[in-house]
């Protein structure tokens, strides 16, 4: 364990993310995306059940889920924005602030921990120049976070870069991984 890299049980400090810098909000659910949501709604007997999928769509389009995004979803699914925020904050995968172009998640739970996951975290933080877990690198390219079990324990250490799932990462392979990202 590396106390300097591993925060306490509270969330990382996201103060450095500038939400205001992202300009005015553009609605997500228009045209094809609206039709995608309409199709999703046929899967469930209630509108509320489409909440998690709808939030995924917001994140896919905007890269994170802003309060405006939550309000848009709330309106479509006949929920209150406060309710939607309550759901968003329960789950770890919705970004409540902008993140780097490449959002990197590293598993460090015990099975990976005993196979050297901490060294992978250190190498990623060093080579991405993010300085600290949860922060974004000055060039806006990378955010690295430590996550709980990614469910690929036999392929320690698994790393996710956005939607891409990479198995068997080691500190040596980190520079190569970062270099191939456009």
């Amino acid at each position: 364990m590396t106390p300097d890299l591993v925060g306490d049980l509270e969330s990382p400090d996201y103060a450095s993310h500038d939400r205001a810098a992202h300009g005015p909000y553009t609605p997500v659910f228009t045209g094809d995306v609206k039709r995608e949501l309409d199709e999703l709604l046929t899967h469930y007997p209630t509108k509320m059940a489409a909440l998690l999928p709808a939030l995924w769509i917001v994140q896919r389009v905007h890269g994170w889920v802003s309060e405006e995004g939550m309000a848009e979803v709330a309106g479509l699914l006949e929920l209150t924005p406060a309710y939607v925020k309550g759901v968003v904050t329960f789950y770890t995968m919705y970004h409540q602030h902008p993140v780097g172009k490449y959002f990197i998640q590293v598993c460090t739970t015990s099975p990976c921990g005993i196979c050297g996951a901490e060294d992978v975290v250190k190498a990623l933080v060093r080579h991405t120049n993010t300085g600290e877990l949860g922060l974004t690198s000055p060039d806006g390219r990378f955010t690295v976070i430590e996550v709980e079990c990614l469910g690929a324990c036999g392929f320690a250490t698994p790393v996710m870069v956005n939607e891409e799932f990479i198995e068997s990462m080691t500190p040596d392979k980190v520079p190569e991984l970062l270099a191939r990202l456009p």
Binding site: P3, I114, C115, V147, E148, C153, F165
Partner: protein, 437 residues
């Protein structure tokens, strides 16, 4: 089997037979391998007869609890006038477990088929496959398989021309271990925070959307197809030790071992031979020290216990642990147990939903005390405090996440007390291999 996918001759590959064959992921490839024959057969049977075959086979839930599947299905009363639902729990998040990931990424159509059989058997028209959000690859293959199955008329309004409607929908989670708990999964599926519900009512009475629901693990549903094809007797015969544990079981092996991977063996296989022969034994120059055999929520086994264990539901209990989800975490003599256990406790603290005080506070306190001991700042009273907290966390909450955190802590302190005491007394942990390396 380890990687690349070459099964060990001592494995019995029923569910994992087509791991590593990219072609098996497509509808054509799956049909070539006998796919959807079981569903066709099922749709020609009475639902009650399917339930009976599964009951007779002795199949038990592969997600952790080991509840008899046929009995669970029989709780769904036909003709009650309510819509029934099938939920497939693919929220595999138990540390050490990655068998369902393999099943879904190599044989997605097997799960579509299993869901359709299960849904028909319990009188449901809709099955939801709840996949954890991090499983991008299994999710991709499952979505593709569902799309192909709809296009071919295998599922949908008139499944395989039977006149029965069977819909299968893939639902993506968003990062919460607790959503693998059955009632939390249903809450999450409904678009809520994943807080487990108080039981009763049980899901068969009031599950997702308040309707009768059955929830099964991925591996359980996939096992239904070969049982229907080959018969209950065939399945029941696959048992090396206790007749209450039948069939094959996937064990995902990780940690400090030569050949990690997903292995399929008949219930009752000797754990010692499994660890040393199939998985190749410890890494060079090291020795096994402990095993967590069923995912992070089960008691830690010493090697003496593990080596005497037969791998089935009863065998793991006799060996001082539980079969759980079949996620085998192997720990060698280079790992300080306190660090391993502290990290597990931290996992549970992170994943507690916060509803119950015992869990919300207990997991956090446990983590803080363990990390203090790990960092050489523990006191002699800490071990008693940990055991006391553990006791207060057991059997007192809505779901078993709290118990799951206490289990490795209590068993760890009982079985490896010396390592805790050494750190408290100011002696640092010296990995045995430091001398070797």
């Amino acid at each position: 089997m380890g990687y690349p996918h070459h099964p060990n001759p001592r494995e019995t590959t029923v569910l994992s037979k087509h791991f590593g064959e990219a072609d098996a992921r497509t509808l054509d490839g799956w049909k070539k391998r006998g796919g959807y024959k079981a569903l066709e057969k099922a749709l020609g049977m009475q639902p009650a007869d399917i339930v009976n075959v599964v009951k007779e086979s002795g199949l038990r839930g592969r997600g952790g609890a080991g509840f008899p599947t046929g009995m669970k299905w029989s709780f769904m009363k036909p003709g009650d006038g309510k819509p029934h639902y099938l939920c497939c729990n693919a929220d595999e998040s138990e540390p050490g477990t990655f068998k369902d990931r393999e099943l879904m990424r190599w044989t997605p159509h097997a799960l579509v088929e299993g869901c359709a059989i299960g849904a028909y058997a319990i009188g449901a028209e809709t099955a939801y496959v709840y996949i954890r959000g991090e499983f991008t690859e299994p999710l991709h293959w499952m979505e593709q398989a569902v799309k192909e199955a709809y296009a071919a008329g295998i599922i949908g309004k008139n499944a395989m021309g039977s006149g029965k409607r069977i819909d299968v929908h893939v639902h993506k989670g968003a990062g919460a271990y607790i959503c693998g708990e059955e009632t939390a999964l249903m809450e999450s599926l409904e678009g809520r925070r994943g807080n487990p519900r108080i039981k009763p009512p049980f899901p068969a009475v009031s599950g997702v959307f308040g309707m009768p629901t059955t929830i099964n693990n991925v591996e359980t549903l996939i096992a239904a197809a070969p049982i229907l094809m080959n018969g209950a007797e065939w399945y029941k015969k696959m048992s090396l030790s206790n007749p209450k544990s039948t069939g094959t079981k996937l064990f995902s092996v990780c940690g400090n071992v030569q050949r990690p991977g997903t292995y399929e063996v008949v219930m009752g296989f000797p754990f010692k031979e499994f660890l040393y022969d199939l998985c190749g034994g410890p890494l060079h120059g090291r020795k096994f020290k402990a095993v967590i055999p069923g995912g992070a929520s089960v008691p830690i086994q010493t090697m003496e216990e593990a080596e005497a264990t037969l791998m089935d539901y009863e065998g793991f209990v006799a060996g001082g642990s539980m079969l759980g989800s079949g996620g085998v975490i192997v720990i060698d003599d280079a790992q300080p147990m306190v660090t391993v256990i502290a990290r597990l406790a931290r996992f549970f603290a992170h994943e507690s939903c916060g509803q119950c005080t015992q869990c919300r506070e207990g997991t956090a306190w446990t983590t803080k005390i363990l990390e203090r001991i790990r960092d050489g700042e523990g006191t002699v009273e800490d071990l008693d405090t940990l055991l006391d907290i553990g006791e207060q966390m057991t059997g007192k909450t809505i779901c078993v996440l709290s118990d799951s955190c206490a289990v490795p802590v209590i068993s760890g302190i009982k079985k490896f007390r010396g390592e805790f005491e050494a750190l408290i007394q100011g002696r640092r942990f010296h990995p045995v291999t430091a001398a070797v390396a």
